[in-house]
């Protein structure tokens, strides 16, 4: 059809090699994306599944029906009717208004699934049981049924996939995730805003205000980036407690964790913002100075609006880091119901409810919902803020 593609030229070899490489790159990227997103997808799907189904099958089977061995009871003995000298209990095991598909049943815990639907089996004392595929059962006995509860029935049913928000409702209300969510916000929002404010002022001063030892100050701030958090945690806590006791501030309070996160976030914040702010055109600032603006006017009216991408990009970093932090929260915040942050609550649930996957998956998703929202709404600033200053 097309004559041009049949012509082989040295150039087309190069193109072919390039395209092979391109395919390789694309394939690797795809593989990485799948590796990274698959567990999250599994977590998300699991969190919406019915807890009984979750317990017996993996999330990848969630769209197909599952077999479950279940126990129920017949109607209570006071519903029995007498017919031809036998006492009969009859009914349907499905929930009101629902249909069910039975593949096996039994009436004895020792041999729970001995019969196929439609078979008549004999239990002890001349009691006979039959069950249809749709869950209709009939139990007959030569003597009257006694007791207040119905007899046990064992059956294997095919349950269609069930999804719902029940898990979320449960963790948000009864498992304390809701309260921890609020605690986490209480920690994260001030711990994001405070360092940005301080760092923006510092970055302006370190970029545009003449002062002695400015270079040394910048070098010190950059140097602080290498101080490991783990090393300074305990000295910092002791220092805070000593100073706090002078002012009558309790040991494990929100103020402490705000200050701790501020301190740990500031070096990176000042470094990022200074790089951005010092790359703003000098003429704009000089022009504002000629227009009569002092440093504070220049900062609030010119620098802050123009640095929005950098501020947003650091805000994302700091927000994610504080939200996901467990270590600092464990050290600086107590274990009370109104202090436990989400990460600490998750760890606690892992211990106490480790088998309840529905709770863990839903809790995990409540935890990452906020970072995901923050990331997706501000991601264009993240990219722009990271590139700004380096690429003009």
């Amino acid at each position: 059809m097309s004559s041009t593609t049949t012509i082989k030229s040295p150039g087309s070899m190069v193109n072919m090699r390039q395209s092979a490489l391109t395919y390789l790159v694309h394939a690797s990227v795809l593989l990485l994306v799948i590796l990274w997103t698959l567990p999250t997808a599994g977590l998300l799907i699991s969190s919406f599944r019915d807890k009984d189904q979750l317990a017996v099958s993996g999330w990848w089977t969630s769209l197909s029906a599952s077999e479950q061995n279940l126990i129920t009871r017949t109607g209570a003995p006071d519903t029995q009717i007498e017919k031809d000298g036998r006492f009969i209990l009859t009914g349907n095991i499905a929930d009101e208004g629902k249909s069910i598909e039975i593949i096996a049943f039994g009436g004895n815990s020792r041999y729970p699934m001995i019969a196929e639907p439609g078979e008549l089996i004999e239990l002890n004392k001349g009691i006979e049981l039959t069950m249809n595929i749709n869950g209709d059962y009939q139990m007959t006995s030569p003597v009257a049924f006694t007791g207040s509860r119905g007899k046990r029935l064992f059956y294997t049913a095919i349950i269609p996939p069930m999804f719902g928000l029940d898990n979320y409702a449960e963790v948000l209300t009864s498992e304390g995730i809701g309260q921890s969510f609020i605690n986490s916000l209480t920690v994260t929002i001030p711990a994001t805003v405070i360092p940005i404010l301080i760092a923006a002022f510092a970055a302006y001063a370190l970029s545009w205000m003449q002062m002695p030892f400015r270079g040394l100050l910048i070098a010190m701030v950059v140097g602080l980036l290498v101080v490991p958090l783990q090393m300074s945690l305990i000295p910092l806590l002791r220092l805070y407690n000593d100073i706090g006791s002078v002012f009558g501030v309790g040991a494990k309070t929100y103020l402490g964790i705000w200050l701790a996160h501020t301190g740990f976030g500031l070096p990176l914040a000042i470094y990022l913002l200074r790089n951005y702010i010092s790359s703003l055109p000098r003429e704009i600032i000089e022009s504002a100075r000629v227009d009569g603006a002092n440093d504070f006017d220049i900062f609030t009216r010119i620098i802050l609006p123009l640095s929005f991408p950098a501020l947003a990009s650091f805000a994302i970093f700091q927000f994610l880091w504080v939200w996901n932090d467990l270590l600092v929260a464990t050290v600086f915040l107590g274990n009370g119901e109104d202090e436990l942050v989400l990460t600490a609550r998750l760890r606690e649930l892992l211990g106490s409810r480790g088998g309840n996957w529905e709770i863990l998956t839903a809790s995990a998703f409540v935890t990452i919902a906020v970072p995901l929202t923050v990331f997706f709404t501000l991601q264009r600033y993240l990219v722009r803020g990271l590139l700004s200053g380096s690429v003009k």
Binding site: S287, R289, V290
Partner: protein, 363 residues
């Protein structure tokens, strides 16, 4: 009345002195242009007048009052930057109103002044736009408008046209000329390296070189009577040709010879000089014409020819000299590469400089 006075202004960065004592008196309402090669200190001088650079020593007064230690905003100046320096996140109106808002003026007063300036510069349709939605010329007009709104005593321009393309440059230059007509009380200082801007806009031009003033004068003074070789070569395009010449006879009317044609008598007094002294002869390219060998003052082999239709620029290899000679011949002249040419200029178009490069004054 004096608009701006500079007395022995010096600027040093550490131990490096970049301005070596500038003395200059600018009258109120005068339009003065600073020109000079890059690195000569013209922008630094302007920034010192603006208050953006500290003055190392000397006195700077605006309308009689010393402003050495006043911050930029208190000096009664306004500045237009090369890169416009508009606030990118504010509309044109907000850009122009910024200074008055900082000064906490009333809304009505701000609106009145901004509208006046916008009308003067035909910016009214663009007032609600952001700078990024404007063309380069419009941006520069906004920058000028922002300066006008400040109602300055001294208006400073730092190479305001160098970011514009050729057509806009001409148009904006005319607008600045109009502005100068309208603002007769405002002293204007304009830094440029473009000669056309300097020649067309300036009441007086200040030629700077290596941190010192070479000459101050009206555009035509500089063109006709440059005080030294530097100014002679700097003003005028293409630059003046300077060749060695010998003073044959020092008298009220000097007689010189460049070693090519006959002796030439020029109306320049050289009675204080010795016969036979080595001088420098300056001839502007546009004053040269083709000549016979015996009438010529200059000669050379054609290196290349630029035919512009209206004129023909001929570049000649000046045998034995490093500089080439450029001649601007009127009309279209058929010349070949390598051809040997003789050139002459009439005696009243010749400039003479002594060995140190200082001009010998015409009578």
């Amino acid at each position: 009345m004096s608009g701006l006075t500079l007395k022995n202004i010096k600027k040093a960065y550490g131990k490096v002195e970049v301005l070596h004592g500038i003395d200059l008196e600018i009258k109120k309402g005068e339009f003065v242009v600073f020109v000079g090669p890059s690195g000569c200190g013209k922008s630094t001088l302007l920034r010192m007048i603006a208050g953006l650079e500290a003055i190392t020593s000397g006195d700077l007064s605006i309308e009689g009052a010393n402003v050495n230690n006043l911050p930029a905003a208190m000096r009664g100046i306004a500045m237009v930057f090369q890169t416009y320096a508009l606030y990118p996140h504010m509309t044109v109106y907000d850009n122009m109103a910024f200074g008055m808002r900082i000064a906490k003026q009333s809304k009505e007063a701000i609106e009145k002044r901004v509208m006046e300036a916008a009308e003067m510069l035909q910016l009214v349709p663009y007032l609600s736009r952001l700078p990024k939605a404007l063309s380069g010329g419009q941006r520069q007009r906004v920058a000028i408008g922002r300066a006008i709104v400040r109602n300055p005593r001294v208006f400073l321009f730092d190479e305001p046209l160098s970011n514009l393309d050729a057509a806009l440059r001409v148009q904006t230059r005319i607008e600045i000329a109009n502005l100068k007509e309208k603002m007769t009380d405002t002293t204007m200082v304009y830094v440029t390296h473009d000669q056309v801007e300097a020649m067309t806009l300036a009441d007086r031009i200040v030629v700077l070189s290596a941190g010192e003033i070479e000459q101050v004068g009206t555009p035509l003074e500089l063109y006709n009577d440059p005080e030294n070789v530097f100014v002679a070569k700097f003003i005028g395009s293409p630059a003046m040709n300077v060749v060695p010449a010998k003073l044959q006879q020092s008298a009220a009317h000097s007689v010189i010879n460049t070693g090519i044609g006959k002796d030439v008598q020029v109306a320049i007094d050289s009675t204080k000089l010795q016969d036979g002294e080595q001088l420098q002869l300056g001839v502007r390219p546009e004053d040269l014409e083709l000549a016979d060998a015996e009438d010529a003052q200059l000669e050379g082999n054609v290196l290349f020819v630029e035919s512009l239709g209206e004129v023909t620029l001929v570049h000649l290899e000046n045998v034995g000299q490093s500089d080439t000679i450029v001649a601007k011949l009127s009309g279209i002249v058929a010349l070949e590469k390598g051809q040997h040419l003789y050139l002459k200029a009439s005696a009243d178009k010749l400039h003479l400089f002594n060995a140190a490069g200082l001009s010998l004054k015409r009578l």
